[in-house]
């Protein structure tokens, strides 16, 4: 799995690419956390999932973990562009009640 990021004003954008499972998530977890630490002054982080081809429940744990970390900095978190499969996993587990999905 790969991670790209960019900062636009008050928002940190994180673009995840590849398949999120228990094997792939560990490297990206540390990388995400470093980016969040480095952008602690931002208002929110937007995780763009357009490049995520597969995600199982490991992704839920990963996203909620980042949500908790962002909360400590007082930063909001949003999700964007999950594919149909990831969207089903996220909807079923109620993730969107914690981490809203941006429309459009």
């Amino acid at each position: 799995m790969k991670l790209r990021s960019c900062r636009q004003g008050d928002a940190l954008y994180l673009f995840l690419e590849g398949e999120i499972d228990e094997h792939s998530v560990s490297g990206v977890r540390a990388q995400c956390d470093r980016l969040i630490d480095a952008n602690a002054g931002a208002k929110c982080a937007v995780f763009n999932l357009a490049g995520v081809k597969f995600m199982d429940s490991t992704g839920i744990g990963f996203l909620i973990g980042r949500f908790k970390k962002l909360q400590k900095y007082g930063m909001g978190m949003y999700l964007e562009n999950p594919n149909a499969g990831a969207d089903r996993v996220l909807t079923l587990s109620g993730v969107y009640t914690l981490i809203p999905k941006l429309q459009g």
């Binding site: 499972d21 094997h23 199982d56 839920i60 499969g85 587990s93």
Partner: protein, 145 residues
Amino acid sequence: MNQMQLTFLSRSENEEFARNAVAAFALPLNPTLDELSDVKTAVSEAVTNCIVHAYRGTEGWITLSCRTEGSRLHIIVSDSGRGIEDVEQALAPFFTTLSDEERSGMGFTIMQAFMTDFSVSSRPGEGTTVSMSKVFGAKAEADAQ
């Protein structure tokens, strides 16, 4: 009817191998992309459980068997690991024995939701077997009626 069986080590790189092998086996049944995605997710959950829970801190064999029956795909994932003390509790949404590890506790809930049939049997100290099946085209048939 077609059948296949795979045995592989409980290494996390085999999660992707297992779900893609099942997807490839299921292709002749003409699943939709959504159905295939459901099956891959359920297999990934079952295999991850074997690696993260059943063989925690050790390495062991995972057996994955598939059988087709008309438009239905049967999948059995079994291990000889530590087993589950309380299956009913393990099936509850958000329950996890590894709460300090960013585990969602949603694995069994996803298997149940994404597959047509699901059952799990386990003996502590001996292992766990997850049996599940999916009927392809069920949604299209229901929509047509």
